[in-house]
Symmetry: C2
DNA sequence: CGGGCGAATGACTACGTATGCAACAATAAG
DNA sequence: CTTATTGTTGCATACGTAGTCATTCGCCCG
């Protein structure tokens, strides 16, 4: 049905080899031959068979990208950045969500294995098994914002500890003393790092974190909304809440509206990531920014390096990106309690 | 480096054919043989080479999915639905955004051609060239919410005309007589259909559309925000605006907030699609719902049918889904003008 | 007890391309 | 006019697997 390089060769009066070379822009082919081949190929609607190309050249020119759930814009911005960089290098990306693959990660290995030249894990959900199994088969693997005990992975990380510090300082400076925390799954190192530093700073300021104001869950709107409502219905509600990410903060904002609270006046809200939407007027969310785009592009560059021949036993790379505070309107001075400079 | 089926065969003391059959669960292989092969494969970390499989079986078990821009949740919900259905059938999806490929669509053909068994176009941006070229090469193509003159494509459509009617009725019933319209690119049939019906209904009600209240642009937050501000700064601003989609409505809402307008009281806003976010308390957006998930799954089913052998010259399928009104808090009765039942 | 039959497996080839190597033509140098 | 050289092209092969056909073996039935 579909014409092959042999068909093109016959029609153009050259050999199949020449067609192959002409299509790939090999300089050893005369300009006129190249033109003739191109003309015939176009006329017959020839498309090189990717499978055959990959089989022969042992490269699929494709990198697997694993994210937890595209519904969270955090992942979108990462996917976007990766694609930009991969496309520049002539590579394609094969996007996989492990939403359905919650537990074991074996299916993930089957889907990716043998069809990509490398994999970038931006997911924080799937078990550690998938990256380890892939890497042990010689597949280049890069992790974004993800810690795995096993060594040997290239990693791109945002400094979540620093994020926790910046958030704690900001809220404390505004005078908040009762601060709620809605954090992500504590199985993930990034959330543990952030929480640890957040609490450390608060304690240093002399206002240790109140355990009863802690909530944990997935980073979804639903979770933010539910826990925020839960926290604010307490007899002693917090005056500020630090959320797992921006989407969770939107959920919290939603709950606050439903409870008739004015954000910033009655309740300060902080998010994390600084996704595009956080800047929308209606949210105007104070948040901790991590440069998702830069990190994603760096991850793509790292995986391309490994694919390009950088031996697997070369020193694993580790790139850490600083976090920064983005002040907007969702946080404001605490009203109910007097300002009390607790710094030592 | 990576073990092949031959390596497994040697190690397990069987032939390569048997390994192939065992891996694919062929019933003709003894249970014990299958187990032995599976054990060896697992031990050596064998992964079948997808390229070789595809080359031999002439199927990649992959369907290309083309969307304009993942940043719009409308596309996300479609991608999600497609993936659900494809995964059920053991197919994978290869996601491509044609964001960078604005004009010609040839690059798109190169990326998809020869590597997928079928393509679903949910994009409304790229030129008509890509689907036509792919189809002319015998590739099954399904279009979602997209009209192309050329016949022979399976299509899944939402009834945009009906959406326009529902919106016009709703706003008119609320008493609005000065209604703004921020629509999508008029190069797209769906937007033309909707606008035509929208205007027809308004005219029938005796309150023809005021051309000066029409704006057009891409379906982005930015566009909604900009045009809404533009419309509301007029000496005779509209009392309601019907937006191209929900994201545009969010932009409009943003602008309204910035201008100090109260949504629903000072200005009614309607979106289109009913993406998940539209139900968030802070938006509570009245909108026209189209069942993106159902449509996406149907599109997947259609493309799988064609791949499964339904001849290309079989009657092209055409599935039209009804639109429905979802009333929420962003629309309310017009205040400034007296209710005037213009119905005949 | 032998012929035949079915179940299980093995040998072999083709899928469409990339690529090393040989062949060839054209040109330059001797 | 011969030989070396450079630049183009053709030939042949291998990539790893699926599937066709052939083979083996055990078993049932006549």
């Amino acid at each position: 049905m579909a014409p092959t390089s042999r068909d093109i060769a016959r029609e153009a009066g050259v050999s199949q080899s020449t067609v192959s070379r002409a299509m790939r822009g090999d300089a050893r082919v005369t300009v006129e031959t190249r033109h003739r081949v191109a003309e015939v190929a176009d006329r017959l609607g020839y498309m090189p068979n990717r499978s055959a190309q990959s089989l022969k050249s042992r490269r699929s020119q494709t990198v697997g990208v694993v994210v937890a759930d595209l519904r969270n814009p955090y992942f979108l911005e990462i996917v976007d950045g990766i694609q930009d960089e991969l496309n520049l290098a002539g590579y394609r990306s094969f996007l996989v969500t492990d939403r359905l693959d919650f537990g074991r990660g074996t299916e993930l290995v089957d889907v990716l294995g043998g069809s990509v030249d490398g994999v970038i894990f931006a997911s924080s959900r799937s078990a550690d098994e998938a990256p380890i199994r892939l890497a042990s088969r010689g597949m280049p693997v890069v992790l974004i914002n993800r810690e795995i005990e096993r060594q040997g992975f290239d990693r791109v990380l945002s400094d979540y500890g620093m994020g926790g510090i910046l958030a704690a300082r900001h809220l404390h400076e505004l005078g908040h003393r009762r601060i709620g925390l809605i954090t992500g799954p504590s199985s993930l190192a990034v959330f543990r790092d952030r929480e640890r530093e957040f609490r450390r700073v608060l304690a240093e300021f002399g206002t240790p974190f109140d355990e009863r104001l802690r909530r944990e869950g997935l980073y979804t709107h639903q979770v933010g909304s539910q826990w925020c409502a839960d926290l604010m219905r307490r007899p002693d509600p917090p005056t500020a809440i630090f959320c797992a990410d921006d989407v969770v903060a939107f959920g919290a904002l939603d709950a606050a509206l439903q409870l008739g609270l004015r954000v910033s006046d009655d309740l300060s809200l902080m998010g994390y990531d600084d996704i595009e939407m956080a800047a929308w007027e209606m949210f105007s969310l104070t948040t901790i920014r991590q440069p998702m785009g830069d990190m994603a592009r760096e991850a793509a560059r790292l995986v391309l390096q490994r694919i390009g021949g950088l031996a697997m036993d070369e020193e694993p790379q580790r790139r850490v990106y600083a976090a920064s505070l983005v002040r907007r309107a969702s946080t404001g001075p605490a009203k109910t309690e007097p300002l009390d400079d607790g710094s030592t």
